[in-house]
């Protein structure tokens, strides 16, 4: 039998490099199919059900699921599983509320973005502007956190590879470009530049078409990686998951209980935010407008749900296995909980599996980041100019390509210059910001005729205000009681504002075509 162990680091580098080459190839292929802004932002609405479902699920599960998820299980026990167990009701809510109706809006109004639908529904350019600003703000923070994660992983892969480090140290040009001042490792700036170049290349050349087709193989890698890791984790502890449960329960019964170490109210607030909030993630729900037929929503729902559930096995299995191994003394204590996933892969996974999973990690990060780039670019070149000047800018396709680069550079600079604490916070708050600003105005609004433009505007502003207040509070050491999630609070407040103002207002007169879509 071939011993791959001495080649572990080289195998990881080869898999990641192959993955990046494949992304570039898809970008070049998609470039020939991107002829106008409709192709760039909406893939010409030609996606089949399978492609759309893979795009939906892989955009939902970001790098957070592959690194942050195991970290949370290791650190807090079962608490973070509430972000996963909500997936069945969450996808059901998203598709019942949006799957059909967003696609019908797309059929009748030919929108290029989510704020286009919002502007048509409410007949208000102010609502379009506010939703675009909310999307852009969330995108910058979320994108920066994804880029930082990508850069940190690439940095550790390069630094642990002696051959690559030797090559860099032998070349004075590479040394000056990539290495830090004391010549001990590569800089985050350099790894951000490398990973960002690949991401930007396929997003600029192929737009959303490249994004969704890379999502397909990114999703496939994630599913394979998660299944293999799940089996490896089960075998890493004698007695499998039953033994893991018993070891963790013997140490701290609450950690293995349904509320984990976070407690009941914190877990339930996560459940609410992640179940309902899925219907407010622009990088995900925009993709439901891109399918070829309205009826495709029927198949996209179960396929996306199954893909997510299988991929989330990695989240659970690594976290439980590492906590058990450390508690039993079979593995030394980790330097930080964030190392749970990488320590498991480096120690217990077969080198080939480690290669697949590291490629899967990049896939998870990039599949979410490309979705953010797309919706952020649409807000920048399509929606904000339309809201301010009343008409779209000329040559949208060219400007969209330029804006993709600008947005990626802005997020990279933000990722490099801001403290890691702020980026982690913004990344963690990204889901909550999107959920609380867009769920009332979009998910409820396109299903409820009483919703008014004023209510939508106020709910977006209220959601941003609550999120920013909680963020500032947390940075100053203030905590919400009972570990309630700030995003969940913002979502409940924005729903209350939206429904309250709408019910106190006169029912709006809707255009015939909007009413027709909402009547179905």
């Amino acid at each position: 039998m071939v011993d791959f162990e001495p080649w572990r680091q080289a195998i990881v580098v080869v898999f990641v490099a192959l993955y990046m080459v494949a992304c570039v190839a898809v970008g070049l292929w998609a470039m020939r199919r991107t002829k106008d802004a409709g192709d760039f932002f909406m893939a010409g609405r030609h996606l089949g059900a399978f492609v759309a479902s893979m795009a939906v699920f892989s955009s939902t599960l970001s790098g957070f699921g592959f690194v942050g998820g195991p970290e949370l299980v290791y650190k807090m026990g079962m608490s973070s599983m509430w972000m996963v167990v909500c997936v069945t009701i969450g996808y059901a809510i998203s598709f019942f509320l949006l799957g059909k109706r967003l696609r019908l809006f797309a059929e009748v109004h030919d929108p290029l973005s989510l704020p286009d639908v919002i502007a048509v529904r409410y007949g208000s350019e102010t609502t379009r502007l506010l939703s675009s600003i909310a999307i852009l703000g969330g995108v910058i923070g979320y994108l920066a956190s994804q880029m930082k994660a990508m850069a940190v992983v690439l940095q550790s892969i390069i630094e642990e590879n002696t051959i690559l480090m030797g090559l860099i140290q032998d070349s004075s040009l590479l040394q000056s470009l990539l290495m830090n001042a004391d010549q001990t490792g590569v800089t985050v700036e350099a790894t951000i530049a490398i990973s960002c170049t690949v991401l930007v290349f396929y997003c600029v050349t192929g737009g959303i078409i490249a994004s969704v087709y890379t999502d397909v193989f990114q999703g496939a890698i994630m599913i394979v990686a998660a299944l293999l890791v799940f089996l490896t984790a089960a075998g890493s502890v004698d007695g499998g998951f039953t033994e893991m449960s018993q070891t963790i329960m013997a140490d701290d019964p609450e950690a293995m209980g349904p509320w984990g170490t976070l407690g009941m109210m914190g877990c339930l607030s996560w459940y609410f935010l992640f179940a309902l909030g899925g219907a407010g993630q622009p990088q995900v729900i925009t993709k439901t407008m891109m399918s070829r037929r309205v009826r495709d929503a029927r198949s996209i729902l179960p396929m996306a749900m199954i893909g997510y559930m299988v991929s989330a096995l990695l989240w659970l299995s690594i976290g439980l296995a590492m906590r058990t191994l450390v508690l039993k003394g079979d593995h030394p204590e980790l330097a930080s909980s964030g190392q749970a996933a990488t320590a498991f892969l480096q120690t217990y996974a077969h080198p080939l599996l480690a290669g697949v999973v590291f490629a899967g990690l990049f896939a998870a990060i990039m599949s979410t980041a490309d979705g953010f780039l797309s919706v952020g670019t649409a807000a920048l070149v399509h929606d904000i100019p339309k809201a301010i000047f009343g008409k779209p800018i000329k040559n949208e396709l060219l400007w969209a390509r330029i804006a993709t680069v600008v947005l990626a550079i802005a997020a990279s600079v933000f990722a490099v210059k801001s403290g890691i604490g702020l980026i982690a916070l913004l990344g963690a708050y990204g889901w909550g910001i999107f959920a609380s600003t867009l769920v009332p105005a979009v998910a409820i609004g396109i299903n409820w005729k009483r919703g008014t433009a004023l209510a939508a505007n106020c709910s977006i502003v209220a959601a941003l205000a609550v999120n920013i207040s909680v963020l500032i509070g947390e940075q100053n050491g203030l905590r919400l009681p009972w570990s309630i999630n700030g995003g969940a609070v913002a979502l409940i407040v924005s729903l209350t504002v939206y429904m309250g103002i709408s019910l106190c207002s006169k029912q709006p007169d809707l255009p015939e075509d909007v009413e027709a879509v909402m009547d179905v």
């Binding site: 009941m264 204590e333 609070v489």
Partner: protein, 169 residues
């Protein structure tokens, strides 16, 4: 609206119930730098278990209500979804009760790899809502998007395209 109002009241009331952990999980007694621990579950949850259950039940009612909002069907659909909603709410009640038994007694039965209360979360809270998606898939043409409605929307879209084409000429 009642559900959302109720959830608002629950969140507000939490500010007036003293939180023993002050919003931060206690650190692990041995691995303090990398792990949290739950401490005594009874102490931690005694004051909020009923309010937490009401919060969970309001969530289930709200979630099933928005599913209705998305389809606006009556008859067999509403009966099925009401039953589904009741089972969903029942699963949450079972979870809270099972956790309380888990926290207050030494009963630590493992069901499919997890303690009973956690197994209810992992299999019940995940499994029950699959019913709603199964209905969406199985009855899409009858309850979600009827072919007649789709035809009506396609005709509307076609009329709109023609009007836009004439306008541009």
């Amino acid at each position: 609206m009642c559900c959302v109002g109720g959830m608002c009241l629950i969140l507000l009331s939490l500010f007036f119930i003293p939180d023993p952990a002050a919003g931060i999980s206690p650190v692990h007694s041995t691995f303090a730098s990398t792990m949290f621990q739950g401490d005594i579950g009874v102490d931690r949850h005694a004051d909020v278990r009923w309010i937490g259950l009401i919060f969970a039940l309001l969530q289930t009612i709200f979630f099933v209500s928005v599913l209705f909002l998305g389809t606006r069907q009556r008859g067999l659909f509403s009966q099925l979804f009401t039953v589904g909603g009741l089972v969903y709410a029942g699963t949450f009640i079972a979870l809270v009760v099972a956790h309380w038994v888990y926290a207050t007694t030494d009963a630590q039965d493992i069901v499919w790899g997890f303690p009973l209360s956690t197994a209810i979360m992992m299999y019940g809270i995940v499994g029950v809502p699959v019913f709603f998606s199964a209905v969406y898939y199985a009855k899409f043409d009858d309850w979600v998007m009827k072919p007649d409605d789709l035809q009506r929307i396609n005709d509307l879209a076609e009329r709109k395209r023609q009007a836009q084409a004439e306008e541009s000429h």
